[in-house]
Amino acid sequence: MTAARLIINEIKGYHRFLKFLMVLVGLGALASLVRFIFGLGVTTNLNDTYPWGLWVSFDVVTAVPLAAGAFTLGAITHCFHIKKLEPLVRPAIVTGFLGYSLVSVGLLLDLGQPQRCWHTMVFWNPHSPMFEVSMCIMAYTTVLFLEFLSPVCEKLGYYLPLRVLRTLEMPLVVAAAAISTLHQSSLGTFFLIAVDKLHSLWYNPLLPLLFWISAIFSGLSIIILEATMTHKWLGQEDESELLETLARIIPWVIGVYILVKAYALFFLSEGPFFDRPRMLVLFGIEVLAGVFVPFFMFMQKKVRNNNRLRAIAAGLVIFGLVVNRFNVSMYGMIHEGAPYVPSLLETLVTIGIIAAEILFFVLIAKYFPIFEHHPETVDYSLPDKFRKVEKHGSVAAGA
């Protein structure tokens, strides 16, 4: 059998849902091809009034905090040394690595001159939040790639790189947290320049801080949601006990977020809050359903100990985050005239990107040891290629 036939047979054995995801990814790829042949104007509903649309609002501004689980959990597990959370770290890193890779894909599609993306590395402008974010995303994707190499090397039995990666583990965790802090907050700095454009319900000088804090609790919520789903549908181990620990941390972070947001809203915001009913409704949905309800849910032991309720609360946090990022980057921008609605092709690309994230995650989980991770069982010793030592410890017969 040829290699191609092997692969086809392998794919034939996949679950129907995976095949469906593959179709979605294919459609997204075709739609993005249209962008390169016919241009952004044809593919998207963007125009001079709405230069940023779905691809920036979702694929970049929302996807980055959704991939924040890797750095938060890494810091909690390794720096604060809550070792029992270790089994959750690898899936989070895989999600993060996939998330950031797809953010880069989304960014490249959205750029007018994607072939010049390396310009950010040559023509520095430290006054630009976009410069900062793009540098950070490049650096952090590299860090995540290195962290992701561990399961790959384990699978393939590359021992030397494994030992190198092992020594790099802590520096990488610290670098991940520092770099993520910078770019998660700098995504908020993007919108500080929109002084007279972004509605005062969202515009305040603490926007970067709010973006960072919300990235932390959303990252943790994504891990809860993901672990619950992989337990339910991928038949992985039940990590409820660990998720309860995470669920105990989340309300503290949300609490700080609420305090900072209230302070920013009442003391630092300028301009009217109640002039546009549409904005008020969006703000209400974001804050009530996405912040306060999950906050009170996570405060209750009953919710934290119940798999279903815990997942629902985490889902609400994610929902609130998505609404918040869309409010800041799209709906809250005040423009006259017709509102922006993403085109079919734009939507297909974004759906393709989401589908790719899930598809690749399932496939990686299928082929690499990301769940059965017990660091103490991994053999980091160099194999004896020259057979100098027998398995039982005695010197080989040839000597």
Binding site: R35, F36, I37, G39, L40, G41, V42, L46, N47, D48, T49, P51, W52, A75, H78, C79, F80, H81, D110, L111, G112, Q113, P114, Q115, R116, C117, H119, T120, V122, F123, W124, N125, P126, H127, S128, P129, M130, F131, E132, S134, M170, V173, V174, A175, A177, A178, I179, L182, S185, S186, G188, T189, F190, L192, I193, A194, V195, D196, K197, P208
Partner: protein, 284 residues
Amino acid sequence: MSGDIKDFNKTGAFLIDMTKCTGCRGCQVACKQWNQLKAENTTFFNGEGYQNPPAMSEYTFTRIKFRDYQKNGQNEFAFYKEMCMHCNDPACASVCPVGAFKKTAEGPVIYDTKRCIGCRFCMVACPFGVPKYEWSKAFPLVKKCTGCYSRIKNGHKPACATACPSAITYGPRAEMLKEAERRIAARPDRYLKKIYGKEEAGGTSVIYLTALPFDELGFKPVTKRPLPSYTWQALRLVPGIFLTVGGSLSLLSWFTHRKDRLKKEEEQRTQSRKHSDQNQEKTE
């Protein structure tokens, strides 16, 4: 970025006296000619009023907006010339990740087509909505008024200022401001007692005099603070935050790991002591 220009008195500036504008749109034509911009298909009254084309675009860098109003029972026109304001401290230049925009010492804010990566942050940042995009192209670039930098460098005035028969004066910014103040003082009944562009967005190289309130003509209400300062107040903290987070997490993990190591060593010691005790018991 405005870089090392500290004195904006000598940068070239447009003084546009809207009360003297006749709405001939010679400036629009001159702009298209000098910049070799395509004509746009237009129809009357497809926008807010008489103005054409309906908006600035990749083909239209400047445009006269018409506003009809009544004065002493008579229909009158008021005008507003839309164009790049060539800010002293431009938002577009500060947000551009590759520094494609530059405020020149001569006055114009210029754009380097060879650097641009097409992220459109300049369009989001500009408080006046000036940069436009080549939406029809597969690999689009940004388009905006160049301030006729190529003409100015060779000692000419900008194309629109040259074509305008009545309203546009071009010269050093300080002189233009002085002239504007002189005109307001000389004919207080004719002018609104405010100079748009003197302080808007931290000061611009295009300054306006009008008879009608600015917002009625379509001028955007804009902050007086230079826009880059809004993002810089957060961005300047970046190196500090990086070192603080990195440093404190390193310290924290050093402590927690040390505690762990000591605990393990302690366990090992007690275990080996037990072991040796047992051995002793055995030998005894």
